[in-house]
């Protein structure tokens, strides 16, 4: 993996690299709306589209951290609005236990974050990305689970 190259920034300075797992129907559409509206948000995020937040497996989060990603954002529809009715509701329980175990193990608070963003919340999406980027940036590069050879 190369060091992240960020446009218009001093490329020798470390910038956090964040993976965002967005559900297709709400959060990804919200991100799309932000794009259409030309809303500015930090380019540190890499989006991976999934059909539903219920598709998110803890493996994705662990593997991302192991590969050296600095922060993980998982986002889905608001409870009650899931395209598949209850995907995000089952996921909510999974995320709660996952987050607590990660923090218990010593993964810094704020490295892995969860949010509900609807298709209409383009403004909110850009705001969330700004906040997450700042928070992860403040934590520094991720060393947890990373294999140093």
């Amino acid at each position: 993996m190369e060091e992240s190259q960020v446009v218009n920034k001093d490329s020798s300075k470390w910038e956090p690299r964040i993976i965002a797992f967005l559900c297709n129907w709400c959060s990804y559409a919200g991100a799309d709306l932000a794009g259409i509206g030309r809303l500015q948000y930090p380019p540190n995020v890499r989006i991976i589209r999934v059909p539903c937040s219920g598709r998110i497996n803890p493996y994705f989060v662990f593997k991302s951290l192991q590969q050296g990603v600095d922060g993980v954002l998982v986002s889905g529809c608001h409870p009650g609005d899931c395209h598949y009715i209850s995907g995000n509701l089952v996921a909510r329980r999974r995320f709660a236990v996952l987050k607590r175990i990660l923090e218990f193990a010593g993964v810094e608070k704020g490295r892995v974050q969860f949010t509900w963003i609807s298709a209409a919340e383009g403004e909110r999406f850009s705001q969330v990305i700004k906040e997450v980027t700042e928070e992860v940036g403040a934590l520094g590069p991720n060393k947890r689970f990373v294999k140093e050879n």
């Binding site: 993996m1 590969q67 050296g68 990373v146 294999k147 140093e148 050879n149």
Partner: protein, 340 residues
Amino acid sequence: MKEKIIKKEQIGSWLEGLGKDYEIWAPVKKKGLVHFHHIESTKEIHFDFLNSKKTPKDLFFPQSEVLFSFAKEEVETTPQKARIIFAIRPCDAKSLALLDQVFDSEDYQDPYYVQRREGTLLLGMACTHPQRSCFCTSVKGGPFEKAHLDLLMADLGDGRYFVEALTERGEDLMEKDDSLQDPQKEERGKLAKVKEEAEKKVKSKLAMEGLEKKLDEIFDSSFWDRVHQKCLGCGICTYLCSTCHCFALLDEKDKCGVQRVRSWDSCMFPEFTLEASGHNPRISNRERMRQRVMHKFNYFVKRYGETACVGCGRCIQNCPVNMDIREIIEEIENERPLPS
């Protein structure tokens, strides 16, 4: 060959002298368990142990090793320094000779294994306290067995050790220290007595005669239905066995590039024989247990003329459900082959 006596308190300085030319690996107690570790100071050595938890095979055939890798940047490899393994037991030394049959044969020499093997001297420590689970004498070994070692030390019980060189390289190690004294007749007598007492302590005696043939006869017997029942199918017996040597080749990608890794594998795992088609010839634990026993006491014997077991007893001590290979062998000896 050369024989000497050394006092226990002199062993540290002797090894420190040798440490200038060799990396010293010795038994160290960590978290309540004894393993062979590379030591920086001889104070770390733990003398009072029955046998190590993990076998020293890891030092020649590591649980995981990178065979080669490719990346964008050059990856430097550091050359291996010559090593001495201090206080290796005769059974574990014998297991290396069995592994040599596989990794250093006429047809094929594994460069990774061979480089380590040639660069390592085995400074053995005789077993004055064989455990109840040891059965080395039933598989052509013994607590004071000299084969496959460069040097054998034996605790005489009076704060001194009898040291005997068994190879030229072993003799070289003894040349390097003046604190080693020549043994007298009295010491040789003590050694013989300690050896006799140790051999008496190996209480487990197995009838190994005709085992290979018996196994051929009972291959399809319902005996195997009973034997495997309580086995969990984990890898403890395999990974803690001195002679088990099956491995998997894996390609792993990480920040530094791609690596081909050789990693231990166990025939007790279901995926060991899982084929790409989805077919698994050893579909259940029954076949896998049978395979384990056949490999050690039949296939290896057919191929290399020796039993792939040195009687160290680690499988018996560590099996979570107390599977006991001695009982299995006894049952096989008594089993009348059933019609298939």
